[in-house]
């Protein structure tokens, strides 16, 4: 069929590393062989940050969840916690939160049925309160949402304001808000958002504010996942994450207000994805920890070991979940979760088996939790730390991924850094190349996906029809928006907005204290968005397609 193609079939990892039929000691480069026998809990930490691993601290079961009205999201989070989730994530409505629009923005009204489809609508702190109703935020690791950089200051301030109103000291809170450049500047590009430079300022403000007021909070969480699922391969994902961390740490260092040891700890909670590429992805997590140690010691002179341990959150790849024969995805989710655990993740979310069809149904969500519980309690894997350590194959992959990832970091730095490659579209082009080569390999059947391009016969008696959307998210949100406008203390809200605008114009002031005041005065996200847009304009989106 492909007579023009005479190349012998090569065995390669997903990222293109050529694979031998078996591995021996000669395949581990000297630099890496030197640290191969270092115990877990010892630098450079590729074998894990802690000697006892999962014996002393199981990974956190942490599932993305949310849709509809804040009450719907609250109910789903409680369902997951009841089922054994050990941290919770809030997902915000993409139309309103990601764009900082209220529901009456013309671009939202034009597609009002979409509102609430993939996250709950939270336009003011009142709605955040509804979403967090009865949730034990004083004792549970919570993700406030705010995955999107421009949305994070509001999402975090709203979560923290709810805590304050409940009388919980901010210093007691632990959680995260992500605030990730990979998401809306690379993978899921919003129609409108602040340019990357003010985005960096917002993140640095959050890092500084947390170090002062919320020492247990993970202020930002770089999400390589979003780069990986957009197309970046394993070493590109690794390299881009490191280059992103350099942006944050350089900015904090430039400001000169924070100790770099503290800054390193704050930025050291990072997210990657795992896919069906089991050994390469497990090796990726090992390489990530080793690279983190090297970056901080060599570039920033950090010596405190507590700050040199990268903590990892894994989300299993959504892009590897298939629409056809969706129950096969339970197997895929299990294998990708296994990969994360073999790689020593601290926290894990497993994509629902209906990922390619809709947001997760209750059953799909429950299965994602059960997969993790079965791995934790039935396999005995948690008994031994870094079970892959010493495998010539895995150590060779770890070293090779690290080598390629540092090269990629150099390529990014040579172009002005991670953010500059987002601005120029260079990183998008790398993702696009891989998207295309993967699509070609699938079309040719060189990359087999069971039930999709081979073994297509399906006798499943049950249809997975997708989780039905909530139908009243838009009208309820509109009613609530109007109620806030009617009932809030208008003088306080106006004053807070004016102060916010002034703070945006002054790069030496931290935006978060003012954001806290604004949120407490029941300012809405649309108003915050208007101020950001006036202050900073719109990101010039590079060519994507």
């Amino acid at each position: 069929m492909h007579s023009h193609d005479q190349r012998p079939p090569a065995y390669r990892s997903a990222s293109g590393i050529e694979l031998k039929a078996s591995y021996g000691p000669e395949d581990v480069p000297a630099e890496h062989a030197r640290v191969m026998g270092v115990a877990p809990g010892q630098p450079p930490f590729h074998r894990g940050g802690f000697p006892q691993g999962y014996r002393t601290k199981p990974w956190r079961i942490f599932q993305l969840s949310g849709f509809g009205k804040p009450e719907d999201e609250n109910e789903r989070i409680k369902f997951l916690l009841r089922n054994g989730e050990t941290g919770f994530l809030m997902e915000h409505d993409r139309n309103t939160a990601d764009h900082l629009y209220n529901v009456d923005h013309p671009d939202v009204v034009a597609r009002k049925e979409d509102v609430g489809l993939t996250g709950a609508v939270m336009q003011s702190v009142r709605e955040t309160e509804l979403c967090l109703a009865d949730l034990p935020i004083e004792s549970t690791f919570g993700h406030a949402g705010g995955a999107v950089v421009q949305h994070a200051p509001f999402a975090l301030a709203a979560y923290w304001t709810v805590a304050k109103r409940r009388g919980i000291p901010l210093a007691q809170l632990f959680g995260t808000g992500q605030s990730d450049f990979f998401l809306t500047y690379l993978g899921c590009v919003t129609k409108q958002q602040v340019p990357t430079a003010p985005g960096l300022r917002l993140n640095a403000d959050i890092i500084e504010f947390c170090s002062e007021h919320l020492p247990k909070w993970v202020p930002v969480s770089i999400a390589g996942y979003n780069g990986g699922d957009t197309g970046l391969n394993a070493w590109q994902e690794l390299g881009a994450v490191m280059a992103n961390a350099i942006e944050y740490l350089d900015e904090v260092k430039r400001r000169g207000r924070m100790d770099m040891t503290v800054a390193a700890q704050r930025v050291g909670g990072v997210n990657f994805r795992t896919t069906m590429e089991i050994f390469e992805d497990a090796a990726k997590l090992r390489a990530a920890r080793k690279m983190w140690h090297k970056l901080l010691t060599e570039r920033y002179g950090v010596t405190d070991e507590r700050a040199l341990r990268m903590r990892i959150h894994i989300v299993t790849s959504g892009a590897y979940m298939q629409y056809q024969q969706p129950f096969n995805n339970i197997v895929r989710g299990t294998l990708m979760a296994l990969t994360a655990v073999l790689g020593g993740t601290q926290s894990l979310g497993v994509s629902g088996y209906d990922e390619a069809i809709s947001i997760p149904s209750e059953h799909a969500h429950q299965m994602s939790v059960r997969i993790q519980q079965i791995l934790e309690h039935e396999t005995n894997i948690p008994a031994v730390t870094d079970p892959l350590g010493g495998s010539y194959y895995v150590e060779s992959l770890t070293a090779e991924l690290e080598r390629r990832a540092w090269e990629f970091v150099d390529q990014l730095l040579a172009q002005g850094g991670f953010l500059a490659t987002l601005d120029s579209g260079w990183l998008h082009a790398r993702a696009r190349e891989n998207q295309e080569s993967q699509a070609i390999a699938e079309a040719r059947g060189e990359r087999k996906i069971v039930g999709v391009n081979c073994f297509k016969e399906d006798i499943t008696p049950w249809e997975v029809d997708g989780f039905p959307p909530v139908t009243d998210a838009y009208p309820v949100a509109l009613e609530r928006l109007n109620a806030v406008r009617r009932e809030r203390h208008e003088t306080a809200a106006t004053a807070a907005l004016r102060e916010l605008a002034a703070t945006c114009r002054d790069p030496d002031r931290n935006i978060m204290p003012v954001m806290m005041q604004a949120v407490d005065a029941e300012v809405t996200i649309g108003e915050i968005g208007d101020i950001f847009r006036q202050a900073w304009g719109d990101w010039h989106t590079p060519k994507l397609v």
Binding site: A110, R111, D114, C188, S437, A439, N453, G466, V545
Partner: protein, 153 residues
């Protein structure tokens, strides 16, 4: 980096049109959802299949109708990233403006939602659809289908 990125998905046939001019397809996103991986791969396959692809981005129904008319396209592809009702409304607006204009759709479209679009005569390509099937469908809908093609070349 995979060397496959330099290879082409070009079909064995010549460009789609039978009258010389390439057929024009508008690809637009119905939702404020900026995931672009799917539409990027589909746009590439359609271009390699000989079509001229016009990208509408995240568009409202009004914007899609205007672009379809201004660009004088032969086919509209809707990337449905949100609720099917939004797509249904856009299909209604497109048909009110140009009843003869064929429409197909792709994206995260649940089976129940796909059935609703199919009932409106819209072909649906959910995740996992093969690119050569999408290109063949575009050829059929624009009346430019050659005898037998394959994007895997």
């Amino acid at each position: 980096m995979s060397s496959a990125s330099n290879e082409s998905t070009s079909a064995t046939s010549s460009p789609a049109a039978t009258d010389g001019a390439p057929r024009r397809i508008l690809l637009a996103k119905t939702a404020l959802d900026g995931h672009w991986r799917g539409i990027s791969v589909v746009a590439r396959a359609l271009r390699d299949g000989g079509f001229q692809v016009i990208l509408g981005g995240m568009s409202t129904g009004t914007e899609i109708v205007r672009a379809a008319i201004d660009e004088d396209v032969d086919l509209v592809g809707l990337n449905v990233g949100g609720h099917v009702e939004v797509a249904e409304r856009i299909i209604g607006e497109l048909r009110a403006a140009r009843a003869d204009l064929p429409i197909f759709a792709g994206g995260i479209i649940a089976p129940w939602a796909a059935r609703r679009l199919q009932a409106l005569g819209v072909e649906v390509f959910p995740p996992g659809s093969q690119l050569d099937e999408i290109v063949s469908c575009a050829r059929r809908l624009t009346g430019t289908e050659p005898a037998s093609v394959s994007v895997s070349g």
